[in-house]
C-alpha cells in the first residue's frame, strides 16, 4: 500500500528528474557551442564528445580577416561609454521621479516605458538618414547615441525601483539638519543606491553589448561590434563553425559573468518593476 509518505518521496524524485532534464535542455546547447570552440575543424563535423582540444580557433578569429580584436574593442567602448553616460542621467531623473511629484509625471514615465517597446526597425531608418547626413555612419559615437536610446528606459526604471526601496528617513533627517537637496543626493542617496546603480549599469552594459540591429545597419567596417562580427562568419557558411563558436564564446563569457553578478535583481530590472 502506498502511504502518504512514500507517495511524497516518489513525487519528489520525479520532480528532481524533471528539473535535471530541464537544466540539461537549457545548458546543453551552450555547452555544445563551447565545446565546438575548442575543436579542430574536422571534429566539428563528427559530433565527437571526446577530442583533442585546441586553442587555434581563438587565435584565428583575432587575426585577419575576422579581426575580432577590433570588434571586441568596439563593443567594449560602446557599451562602457553608453553606461557611463546613461547611468548618471538616469539616476538624476529616477531620484526626481521617486522623491518628488512632478506635473505630468505619470505621462513622462509612461513615455519612457513605451519607448522600450518600440521595435528597433521603426527608428533605425530615420537614424540611418540622419547619421548619413551628419557623417556618423560607421562611427562608435553614432552607436553610443543609439544605444543610449535603448538603455535609457531600463536604466531609469531600474534605478527608480532601487531608490523607491531606500527609506526616506535619512534624507529627511539630513534636510532638517541643514543639508541642501544636492548635498543629500551626493552624500546619502548615492552611497546607499550604489549597489542598485552598479546593477543597472551592468544590466545596461549587457544590453548594449548584445545589441544587434543598429550595429548591423549603422556600421560597415570600422565600428563593427562583436555580434555583427558573428554575422560576418555567416557569409562563408558551412565552413567555419568552429571559428564561429570561438567568437560566440568571446561574446558569451563576459556576459555570463556579469549576469551572475546581478542575478538577484534581474527580474525586477527586466520587468521594470511590474514584478518585484
Amino acid at each position: 500500500m502506498i502511504t502518504g509518505r512514500t507517495r511524497r518521496r516518489l513525487l519528489e524524485t520525479c520532480q528532481v528528474i524533471a528539473i535535471l532534464a530541464f537544466i540539461a535542455i537549457m545548458l546543453v546547447p551552450i555547452l555544445w557551442i563551447a565545446l565546438a570552440a575548442f575543436k579542430e575543424h574536422v571534429d566539428v563535423y563528427q559530433l565527437k564528445l571526446v577530442f583533442e582540444p585546441t586553442l587555434e580557433n581563438f587565435s584565428r578569429v583575432f587575426a585577419e580577416p575576422y579581426d575580432l580584436g577590433t570588434k571586441l574593442f568596439n563593443s567594449t567602448i560602446v557599451a562602457a561609454v553608453t553606461v557611463v553616460i546613461a547611468i548618471p542621467i538616469a539616476t538624476a531623473a529616477a531620484y526626481a521621479f521617486s522623491r518628488f511629484r512632478l506635473r505630468g509625471q505619470t505621462l513622462l514615465l509612461v513615455i519612457i516605458l513605451a519607448t522600450q517597446f518600440v521595435p528597433a526597425v521603426v527608428i533605425v531608418l530615420p537614424f540611418f538618414l540622419m547619421f548619413r547626413d551628419l557623417g556618423l555612419l560607421d562611427t562608435l559615437t553614432g552607436l553610443v547615441i543609439v544605444n543610449l536610446a535603448i538603455v535609457m528606459p531600463f536604466a531609469v526604471w531600474m534605478i527608480k525601483g532601487f531608490i523607491d526601496g531606500i527609506p526616506i528617513d535619512t534624507e529627511e533627517a539630513a534636510l532638517v539638519d541643514g543639508s541642501s537637496r544636492l548635498q543629500v543626493i551626493r552624500n546619502i542617496v548615492l552611497p546607499m543606491a550604489a549597489p542598485g546603480l552598479v546593477t543597472a549599469g551592468i544590466f545596461c552594459f549587457i544590453i548594449a553589448w548584445n545589441e544587434f540591429l543598429f550595429a548591423l545597419i549603422l556600421t560597415s567596417k570600422k565600428a563593427v561590434t562583436l555580434p555583427i562580427g558573428l554575422a560576418l562568419f555567416k557569409a562563408e557558411e558551412g565552413d567555419l563553425w568552429n571559428l564561429m563558436a570561438a567568437a560566440g564564446i568571446i561574446i558569451m563569457v563576459p556576459m555570463f559573468i556579469l549576469a551572475l553578478l546581478i542575478r538577484r535583481h534581474f527580474v525586477q530590472g527586466m520587468t521594470m518593476g511590474a514584478v518585484r
Partner: protein, 290 residues
C-alpha cells in the same frame, strides 16, 4: 536652489535623451512613411504620397501579408508555449532548498546569450549533416533523419519557434518564480487543511493569485515576439523563401536591401500600433503596483 526648480532640472537630461533618440525618430519615421523614396535618389525623400505606401502594403503586397501572418502565428505560438513551459518549470523550482535555488541561479545563463547568438547556435545544431539536434531528433523519431530542417518552410518555422522559446523560458521562469513567491503560503496551506488535493490547491488558490504576474509575462513575451529580428536574421534570414520573415525582418529587407525607405517606414509604423496597445496594458500593471 529650490526643490521646485531642481526636480525639473534633474529630469530634463533623461527626457531630452529619450525625446531625441526615441520620440523624434518615431515622428521622423512617420514622416518618411508618407514620402516615396528610394535611398539612392539624390532628392530623397521628396515626393509626398500621403497614405499611398500604407495602402500599397495592404492591397498590393502579398509579401507584407505573409510577414503579418508569420509574425502573428509566431507570436501566438511562442507566447503560448513559453508561458506554459515557464509555468511548469516555475512550479517545479518554486519550493525552497539548496538544489532548487542553485538551479535558479543557473537560469540566468541562457539569458546572457543574445538572440543573435542563439540564432547562430541553433543553425549550427540543426544542420542536417553535423547538427547535434539533428542527430538527436533523428535517432529519436523515425524518419526524422531525412528532414532538412532549415530548408523546409514549415520545419524552419518550428526551428525558429523552438530557438525563441528556448531563449526566453529561463527569464520567464524566473519572473514566474518571483510571482509564486509573492503568494502567501498561508493561503495554500489553508486550502490543504480545508481538504483540497494538490491540483485543486493550484487551480483554486494559487493560479487566481498568480494571474496578474501571468498577465505581465504574456504581454511582455508578446511584445518581444512581435519585435523579433536578431534571431530570425541569424537563424534563417527570413527563409527559406520568406517562410520565416517576421515583420521586423520584412522592414529591414525593404529598407536596406531594396532601399525602399518610405515603404519600409510605413510597414514599421504599422507595427507600432499593436505595440502601443500592448504597452498600454503593460503600463496598467506597472502603475497598479505603484
Amino acid at each position: 536652489m529650490r526643490d521646485r526648480t531642481l526636480k525639473y532640472l534633474l529630469v530634463a537630461p533623461a527626457v531630452l535623451v529619450v525625446g531625441a533618440t526615441a520620440v523624434w525618430p518615431l515622428y521622423e519615421s512617420l514622416r518618411l512613411s508618407m514620402h516615396a523614396g528610394r535611398l539612392s535618389r539624390p532628392d530623397f525623400p521628396q515626393v509626398f504620397v500621403g497614405a499611398d505606401q500604407y495602402t500599397w502594403a495592404f492591397f498590393e503586397q502579398p509579401a507584407f501579408w505573409n510577414s503579418v501572418w508569420v509574425t502573428a502565428s509566431f507570436t501566438l505560438v511562442t507566447v503560448a508555449l513559453t508561458t506554459l513551459l515557464a509555468l511548469c518549470f516555475a512550479l517545479l523550482l518554486a519550493r525552497g532548498g539548496r538544489f532548487r535555488s542553485g538551479v535558479q541561479s543557473l537560469l540566468i545563463l541562457p539569458f546572457a546569450m543574445s538572440p543573435a547568438l542563439i540564432g547562430v547556435s541553433f543553425r549550427f545544431m540543426f544542420n542536417p549533416e553535423f547538427g547535434l539536434f539533428d542527430a538527436f531528433l533523428g535517432r529519436l523519431i523515425p524518419g526524422a533523419e531525412n528532414i532538412n530542417w532549415l530548408s523546409d518552410p514549415t520545419m524552419a518555422f518550428w526551428v525558429v519557434v523552438i530557438a525563441d522559446v528556448w531563449g526566453w523560458i529561463p527569464f520567464l521562469t524566473l519572473v514566474l518564480i518571483g510571482g509564486l513567491a509573492s503568494i502567501p503560503q498561508e493561503t495554500q496551506e489553508a486550502a490543504q487543511v480545508d481538504g483540497a488535493p494538490a491540483w485543486k490547491v493550484f487551480r483554486d488558490v494559487t493560479l487566481p493569485q498568480l494571474l496578474p504576474v501571468l498577465a505581465v509575462v504574456v504581454i511582455l513575451k508578446a511584445i518581444f515576439s512581435l519585435k523579433t529580428f536578431d534571431l530570425v536574421f541569424m537563424l534563417t534570414n527570413g527563409g527559406p523563401g520568406n517562410a520565416t520573415q517576421t515583420l521586423s525582418h520584412y522592414v529591414y529587407f525593404n529598407g536596406f536591401k531594396y532601399a525602399e525607405f518610405g515603404y519600409a517606414s510605413a510597414v514599421a509604423w504599422l507595427m507600432v500600433i499593436p505595440m502601443m496597445v500592448l504597452t498600454y496594458f503593460y503600463a496598467r500593471f506597472v502603475f497598479d503596483r505603484e
